[in-house]
C-alpha cells in the first residue's frame, strides 16, 4: 500500500510545468511546489467557493472548466470561464479578503489548490520560487486589470 508515498512523477511534473504560473520553475522547484498543491475534483454544477467566503487560496484548473459568477457588475465583463491552466481566486494569496465571485464547475473539473499560508511560507523559505511565481501571478492580475479597463473605457489608465 502506498498511503503516504511520493506521487510526483514525470507526467505530473510536465502537467504542472504547463500551468502558466509554474512554467518558469525548474524540475526541482516544481517538485517542491507540488508538495504544497492539493488536488480537488469537482462534479458538474458543484460550487468551488461562494462570493463573500473568506479566501484562503488559489485554484488552478487542470482539466475541465469553471465558471465565475461575480456579484459586481464591473467584474461580469472580465473573464468568466476558467479553463485548463487558468487560475481563479489569486487575490486570496495576498490577503484573506472575501471572494469576489461565486465559482461553479460547469463540467467535471480537476483543480490543484495552493493555500495562502503555505504559499507565504514557501516565499520565505525559497525566494527563487517565490519570485518566479509572483511574477507570473502579477502578469495574470495585470492582464485581468487590462481586460477590465478595455471594457470600462471611463476608468482611468494607471
Amino acid at each position: 500500500m502506498r498511503f503516504f508515498s511520493a506521487e510526483t512523477n514525470a507526467q505530473k511534473v510536465k502537467m504542472l510545468k504547463s500551468i502558466p504560473i509554474f512554467h518558469t520553475l525548474t524540475r526541482k522547484e516544481i517538485l517542491e511546489v507540488d508538495e504544497l498543491l492539493y488536488e480537488r475534483v469537482y462534479e458538474k454544477n458543484e460550487i468551488v467557493f461562494e462570493e463573500g467566503d473568506p479566501g484562503h487560496g488559489v485554484f488552478i484548473v487542470v482539466t475541465g472548466k469553471l465558471r465565475a459568477d461575480p456579484g459586481h457588475q464591473l467584474l461580469k465583463t472580465a473573464l468568466l470561464d476558467i479553463g485548463p491552466g487558468e487560475t481563479v481566486g489569486e487575490l486570496a494569496l495576498f490577503d484573506e479578503g472575501p471572494r469576489s465571485a461565486t465559482v461553479v464547475a460547469i463540467e467535471r473539473t480537476v483543480t490543484v489548490a495552493l493555500f495562502q499560508a503555505e504559499f507565504s511560507t514557501l516565499l520565505m523559505k525559497n525566494k527563487s520560487i517565490g519570485v518566479k511565481v509572483l511574477v507570473e501571478l502579477a502578469r495574470i492580475l495585470s492582464r485581468r486589470a487590462r481586460q477590465l479597463l478595455q471594457h470600462e473605457k471611463h476608468l482611468p489608465t494607471l
Partner: protein, 368 residues
Amino acid sequence: MKPFPQPGAVTLLVVILSTCLLLLLFQKMIWLVLPVLLALLLYYSLRPVVDALVVYGAHRETAAKVVCLVQMIVAASLLVLVLLFLSKAGASQDSLARYLTGGQNLLKKSTGALERAVPIFQRMKLSEQVNDQHVRDFTDKFVQKNLLPISLQLLEWLPSLLLVPYITYFMLTDSTRLKKYIIKSVPNAFFEKALLLFSHLDTSLQSYFQGLLVLTFLEGTTLAIGLSLVGIPHALWLGFAAAVLAWVPYLGSVVGCIMVVLVAATDFPEKPGMAYACLALFLGVRLIDDFIYLPLTIGRQLHVHPLLSVLMLFLGATVAGATGLVFALPLFGVVAVIGETVAQVVTDQRLRARYRAARQLAALCERI
C-alpha cells in the same frame, strides 16, 4: 502571528471537557505520548534546518537523514555526559540520603535561627517538628514508596524513548504527504476550512515547541550564571536540569529549586547563606520567567486567558496528575483551535448546504 478566534461558551465547555478526557487518555498511554511529544519537539526545532538544506539543493529524505543523524550523535553525547556527571556526583540511594541529610541540617539551622529571632516560633517548638526521626522516617518512606516505582517507570519508558528519532525522521520526511493524505478525505465544501485548521495547528504547535526550547535556554542560562555567581559547583548542569524540570508547571520549578538548595546545603554545610542565595535566585528567576521570558516566548503564542490557564492546570493535575500539568496548556491550545473550527463548520448553514448539494451531485454522477 494573528490571534486565533476565541471559542464561544458552549464550544469552550466542550473544549475543556475534551481536553480533560484526552489528558486522562494521555496518562494511560504515557509510554507512547512521551516519545511523540519529544519527537514533536525535535521535529519543530529541526524542520527549519531540513528546509534550509532543501533550499540549498539537498533531497528532503537526505536532508532529514543527515539532520537526524547529527541529532542522534548530539543526544548520545549528551547522555554520556549526563551519565558521567551522575557517576561523578555519586547519584545513588546513599548520595540521595546524604543530600537529604544536608537539607535537614539546613532546616534545623534555619528553624533554630527563626526560634532565636521570633519568640513565637520558640513557643511553637518549631525545631522539634524537624527532628532526625521525623526526617529519617520521611526519607525511608519516600525511598520505599517513590524511588523504586520511579526507577521502574523510567526503565519501562526507556524502550519507548528509542522511538523518538524514528518518529522524528518520518515526521521530517513524510509530514506533508500525511497531511495531503488526510486532506484528501475531506469533502470539497470543508476543504479550505480543513487547510486553515491544519495551518493554525501547525503554527500553534511550532510556536509552542520553539518557544519552549527558547524559554528553557533562557531560564537555564540565567540560572547557570546565577548559580556560578553564588559559587555552586556544576552550575551549568544544575541550571539546565532545573530549566528542563520547569516543563512541569509550578511543581517542576519547586523540585528544581529544592534540588539546588539541597546541593548547596550539603556541599557548603557551614555556609547556609549559599542555600538562601540559591532560594533567592530561584525566586528571582521565577519572577523574570513570569514577567519577561514567558510572555516573550510561549505566553505570546498560546493566546489563553491567564485565568483559564490556571483553571486548566488545576483540572489537568486533578484528572491526570503530573502528566496533566505538563500537557494541560498545549493540549488545551490544540483542542481549542480544533473546537473553534468544528463549531464554525457546524454552525455555517452555507457550508453544510454546499456539502449536501455536492453529495447529491456525486450520487447523481455515479448513477449516470
